[in-house]
Chain length 213, copies 2
DNA sequence: GTAGCTCTCTACCGATCGGTAGGGAGACCC
DNA sequence: GGGTCTCCCTACCGATCGGTAGAGAGCTAC
């Protein structure tokens, strides 16, 4: 594997586990098997390395979006939530990085996140508007605030998944992940829906369940 | 104010904002207005100081419980959730400290949290059992896992409250806090309840709302 | 007075931090 | 062959880290 890629991999794990201040360049270099000076040849500074790690996670996350938009699935909100859970459960270090950065630099990270999810905002806004027209979604729902809420719900849950006793698997096939996904879907909708919307949702789920037999 | 208390106050803010590795003893001492050596007279090491900060938060949190159990309110689960939100919204640094510690030392922190909330576990277990008998709560609900989930839901939400755009107020009177409390109450129950239980909950809420007019 | 306790100070310690200078080995181009 | 580019190395830099030694100021007790 490329040395640069190896550095990024190790740095991702270290920054996620010990944070920026708790991770030293020598420790990363040691694990990769090179000297610290060699590491600084590939990344000119610790800040730059950290930024690259974060950029990689955010850009990979952003790659998920076009795939969803292109698919044009009937219920794109469900697909979006499902894919987001899958993305972060695939490697919970991604969630830990984002959560740590949110704690370390709240203002900057809020802006970065809003930029990163800007394309999704339109999808959500349309979803919310249609839901409000049909009475399923609350009148006071704010798409932007709601999107941030849901993202941090997923990120927060997966960042501390081991503490919560959630068993992960790389292909997302673990029963805990499937259960968590369903749970988060319900939670995400409950914070958005009216009481009537929730009952309609439950009705649809019951019908779908009956129909699948 | 007592110097030792001042140190604890400043350290709480710094550890919450910049984490353990990102906070230096000199920085804390400077803000308090003493030399680093004087700080180390009151707390023999950085580790000890950090432990004291965390201990203070957890013990203050634990003080909330007896008050609730003594009150013996009809729906103690609601009271518990409400008080937990109030406690962490009073000073979100408490939530940040716990969240950071959970990220830095997941195994240790899981155990500490379980010990800290052990008295609550009985209350929840009883609540869950009764709910299961009446069909409101899912059959597969695990009180311990559920309790950790709810706590981290509250802690996570309040730790990044500024990023989420939640306006806090020390007395918990801000409309955002009231809204968040209601939201978390619904979310907490949705992850525990059956579909039927949710509809009954909504029915009760509607009735209470109508009755209040 | 003076002994002793509490608290803060200056000065210093070794270790480690992020980062730099400069050289050497190998591959490639001409 | 020689020149150049890539990559890693050793050796070193000043700054800062957590922590220690020891003196001195202020207070209390006798």
């Amino acid at each position: 594997m490329d040395v640069r890629t190896q550095i990024l991999d190790v740095a991702t794990r270290r920054f996620a586990a010990q944070g920026y201040g708790g991770t030293s360049l020598s420790a990363i270099a040691d694990e990769v098997g090179i000297r610290k000076a060699s590491l600084l040849y590939h990344f000119p500074s610790k800040d730059e390395l950290h930024r690259s790690v974060l950029d990689q996670v955010l850009s990979r996350w952003n790659e998920v979006l076009p795939r969803l938009l292109a698919a044009g699935s009937a219920d794109r909100f469900d697909a979006l939530l499902h894919e987001t859970v899958r993305f972060f459960s695939e490697d919970p270090d991604r969630a830990r990085l984002i959560l740590r950065e949110t704690l370390d630099n709240p203002v900057t990270m809020r802006e970065r996140l809003l930029v990163a999810v800007a394309p999704w905002l339109q999808v959500i806004a349309g979803y919310v508007r249609r839901g409000q027209e049909s009475g399923e979604v609350r009148a006071d729902a704010d798409p932007e605030a709601y999107l941030l809420h849901v993202i941090h719900l997923v990120v927060g849950g997966l960042a501390i998944s081991d503490t919560l006793g959630i068993v992960l698997s790389p292909d997302g096939a673990s029963s805990d992940i499937q259960r968590l996904t369903r749970e988060l879907e319900r939670i995400a909708k409950v914070s958005l829906f009216t009481d009537e919307g929730i009952e309609r949702m439950n009705g649809r789920r019951a019908a779908a369940h009956a129909g699948s037999h």
